[in-house]
């Protein structure tokens, strides 16, 4: 099953100092030429260095064993996948140049020629097969990734340049899932993964690694997509966001990722900023199991009306976000419904609705992780303004995952439903069908049915219709407390031209550092 990990892990982990996305500091800035667009020849390459700072870095240099999305910045620069997302969320060629569906459960891909791993070994169909087999081997180290691969069951080698990916059921988002598989050199599989042995096909190779501290990368000149401007990069973790903000101001790191929204706002005058969409929706789950009054749609609607959505985005997200139109998906995703509308800010109306529902003395504590403390506090303020008592319960990551995934004792759960990694609503599993015994976040059988339909429906139009119907249900029933669509914020030095890739990550080979 896919998941909603992206935002949760990315942000949540960072808040706990566990996450790791990269930030980059410039160690040195000598550039031979102006990093224009030369092509792969070694002589034309410049020698710029960059340091990327973030609140956390990858948890492992083996991309399959990474325990959260915070490692993606590292992974996309050292490894390639068969296909990629472009900036608009469309699937584009990467290690595979062409693909066709053979039947409902088989996809045939033609592989790129002349690609070599950092070790010098050639990339071929066997490498793809070995990678997928490794991930599906049942080793718990890869379980996070397995969760994203859904029905993928095996890979067949047709010839050295052709593979077939077989799924156990029709999978409309198979290509999206393939973007998650970083291809590692099969020679390293089964051996201990170290800085010396780890090898991919990406534009950078690993030359140094200190767990939880830094990864050092160096340009791989023979890459099929070599980096032109950046020759060396250091990904460092500075877990305290205030310290990270100071490091980027001092110029000791060139980019900073993982700052709180209001810290970003304070830096805006002196540094440049990229704010791509986070592909996520900030919400509070409303759990009737923990507070029966939440089973009444009028109560849920009242809570949505208590929130001043513009103000929440302005303050809670620091202005880096947009007001949700009462649905999880943002425009541009399959199944976005432009006829839906968000909830009006109407505290008096909210009080009336609560009175109409016969609810008095409502108490709705909000559970979340430390990283979302300020946002949850803001929601508390809105709830108290309509006479609902509330407070914030902070849990550490391990406890919060249990709360979110199986059972919450608290009626409101603040989290962000990420769908950027698969670029599809299927990433948001929590409202879909659940195992028996799991607490439901949205008690609506029809929604779960539609989710199931969207999981196997290969026709885009029919899928879009199902997803729109899901969105309509969630909106009409006020199934969750909608809070906004957050954006990511990369703060960076002015001499760095930061081009972000399809997953809103830093593609180092596209970064240009001027002399």
């Amino acid at each position: 099953m896919p998941d909603f990990t992206p935002t949760l892990t990315r942000r949540g982990l960072m808040g706990l100092g566990l996450g790791a996305v990269a930030a980059w500091t410039l160690a040195s800035c000598g550039t031979d030429d102006d990093g224009g667009s030369g092509s792969g020849g070694g002589a034309a390459l410049s020698a710029a260095a960059i340091t990327l700072g973030s609140t956390a870095i990858t948890s492992a240099i083996d991309p399959h064993a990474a325990t959260s999305n915070v490692g993606r910045t590292y992974a996309i620069n050292v490894f390639d996948s068969l296909v990629d997302f472009d900036g608009d969320g469309r699937i584009v060629a990467s290690l595979a140049t062409d693909w066709t569906r053979v039947d409902e459960t088989t996809l045939e891909l033609t592989l790129r020629e002349g690609v070599t791993f950092h070790s010098g070994a050639a990339f071929d169909a066997q490498a793809v097969k070995a990678n997928v087999e490794r991930i599906l081997s049942g080793d718990p180290a890869y379980s996070l990734l397995v969760g994203r691969l859904g029905p993928i069951s095996k890979v067949e080698v047709v010839d050295a340049r052709t593979v077939r990916v077989i799924t156990s059921a029709p999978d409309p988002i198979l290509l999206n899932r393939l973007t998650m598989i970083d291809i590692v050199d099969p020679a390293t599989i089964g051996k201990e993964v170290t800085v010396e042995t780890i090898s991919g096909t990406g534009p950078f190779k690993v030359v140094g690694y200190k767990p939880d501290q830094e990864v050092r990368l160096e340009r791989y000149a023979d890459a099929w997509q070599p980096s032109e401007s950046i020759a060396t990069a250091t990904l460092v973790a500075i877990s305290d966001p205030s310290s990270l903000a100071i490091a980027v101001r001092a110029g000791e790191v060139d980019t900073a990722f993982g700052l709180a929204p209001d810290q970003v706002a304070q830096l805006q005058g002196t540094l440049d900023l990229e704010t791509p969409s986070a592909g996520s929706c900030a919400i509070c789950s409303l759990i009737p199991d923990a507070e029966p009054a939440l089973a009444d749609p009028r109560v849920r609607r009242a809570l949505n009306m208590a929130i001043n959505h513009e103000e929440f985005v302005e303050v809670g997200l620091g202005g880096y976000g947009e007001v949700s139109t009462g649905q999880l998906l943002q425009p541009g995703y399959l199944g976005y419904d432009d006829s839906l509308e968000g909830f009006p800010y109407d505290p008096d109306g909210a009080k009336e609705l609560l009175a109409e529902a016969g609810v008095t003395d409502l108490e709705l504590p909000i559970v979340t992780t430390a990283f979302f403390k300020a946002q949850a506090e803001i929601v508390v303020g809105y709830l108290e303004a309509i006479g609902v008592k509330s407070r914030v319960e902070l849990q550490d990551l391990s406890a919060f995952l249990g709360t979110l995934l199986s059972k919450s004792e608290f009626p409101l759960v603040y989290w962000q439903t990420d769908y950027f990694d698969l670029q599809d609503i299927l990433s948001v599993t929590r409202f879909g069908p659940q195992q028996p015994g799991t607490q439901l976040h949205f008690e609506n059988p029809r929604y779960a049915e539609l989710y199931q339909e969207a999981t196997v429906e290969l026709d885009d139009d029919k899928r879009a219709a199902a997803i729109k119907e899901m969105a309509g249900l969630l909106n009409e029933e006020a199934g969750v407390l909608f809070l906004g669509w957050p954006k990511l914020a990369y703060v960076h030095a002015r001499d760095v031209d930061l081009l972000l890739g399809g997953e809103s990550l830093i593609n180092l080979q596209k970064v240009v550092r001027s002399a």
Binding site: M1, P2, D3, F4, T5, L8, T9, L16, G17, L18, G53, S59, A60, A65, T67, S68, G138, P140, A141, S143, L144, V146, G147, R148, K210, P211, D212, Q213, V236, A237, I238, S239, D240, S242, S243, I246, A247, R249, A250, E252, V253, D396, L397, S398, A399, L401, G402, L404, L405, S406, S427, T429, Q435, G437, T438
Partner: protein, 326 residues
């Protein structure tokens, strides 16, 4: 109450006779075993009752079935007592297993980072003592004058500044605006300046106050008065007699403080992205990465017992009254 002359009367005190050395070493080994066993047992149950690493390992997107599979493969589905017995058996062989998340050997992860932490703790203690003790004696000697009162007040105020605030202030001033020091990282002497300064500020404040109090108390006692009457100079009385009296609580305090510095420098390590065990420990608890937490706590326990042994030995040397007992 009649066993005054036995070492027990003053706790596990060191021996004086040569034959006692062996006995004393034995006592310390026994003590080490008791302490580490006690700690690891508390830790084992505390960790397992407070959360489950399987969800973290499986990832937020995993289904219940996947989480259960991870739980089985990690052996977490076994009865708690079975796990405990296994844990004791492994620990006896110093086998702490591998991190549940990174698969690295847990003990190795801890030992890799320990030198950086010990360096930070050692420098902090040495710097704090070198600055704190003389200031404390000065504050006592001048305790009725402005210097003394000012020093005492300053020390009180300094220990009221939380390190998460002081660290950011130092970073802003020395790292950013003056640009004298790097804002993050570890490995070179300059990287130590800000973390040490942040940690030492509070330690110095405490040492000043304890020294002052100990010295003042001694100055009020008969033996110092007697020494003065015998014609000893005031300076000699201050440094020889009075300070020696202050050293008893001070040594006890420094022992405790070292223990705190080894496990508790997490905030400073986070602020300065310093490569120590404190942060690794807290991250591991948040993830319920049992092997790493257990290995870290074990290593810290051994160190603390050794340090407190050294502290007691020192106390024993320093305090003539205790020596007389033995």
């Amino acid at each position: 109450m009649s066993d005054l002359a036995t070492p027990e009367a003053v706790g596990t005190r060191g021996p004086t006779a040569a034959g006692g050395v062996l006995r004393s070493a034995l006592v310390w080994v026994l003590r080490l075993l008791v302490v580490t066993l006690g700690i690891l047992t508390i830790l084992f149950f505390l960790l397992r009752l407070s959360g489950d690493p399987a969800a973290v390992v499986a990832g937020a997107g995993a289904t219940d079935a996947q989480v259960e599979q991870v739980r089985v493969s990690l052996g977490l589905d076994q009865p708690l007592l079975t796990q405990y017995a296994q844990f004791l058996a492994d620990t006896a062989r110093l086998d702490f297993g591998s991190s549940l998340l990174t698969d690295q050997p847990a003990l190795g992860m801890v030992l890799d980072r320990m030198p950086a932490t010990l360096l930070l703790a050692a420098i902090t203690i040495v710097v704090s003592t070198l600055i704190g003790v003389p200031l404390g004696v000065l504050a006592a000697a001048r305790h009725r004058r402005t210097t003394g009162r000012l020093l005492s007040l300053l020390a009180a105020l300094l220990q009221a500044v939380p390190s998460f605030l002081l660290g950011i202030l130092l970073l802003l001033v020395l790292g950013l605006h003056l640009g004298w020091l790097p804002t993050y990282g570890s490995g070179t002497p300059v990287h130590l300046v800000l973390p040490v300064a942040t940690l030492a500020a509070i330690t110095i404040a405490r040492i000043v106050r304890l020294t002052r109090s100990g010295v003042l108390q001694a100055l009020g006692q008969e033996f110092t008065g007697a020494a003065l009457a015998r014609g000893a100079t005031r300076r000699r009385v201050l440094w020889n007699h009075a300070l020696r009296n202050a050293l008893v609580p001070l040594t006890a305090f420094v022992t405790i403080e070292v223990a705190h510095l080894i496990s508790g420098a997490v905030i400073v390590e986070s602020l300065f992205a310093y490569d120590g065990v404190g942060r690794q420990l807290v991250d591991s608890i948040f993830r319920r990465d049992y092997p790493v937490v257990q290995a870290t706590v074990f290593v810290i326990a051994v160190l603390v017992v050794l340090i407190s042994a050294a502290g007691d030995l020192l106390l024993h040397r320093l305090d003539p009254r205790m020596r007389r007992e033995a």
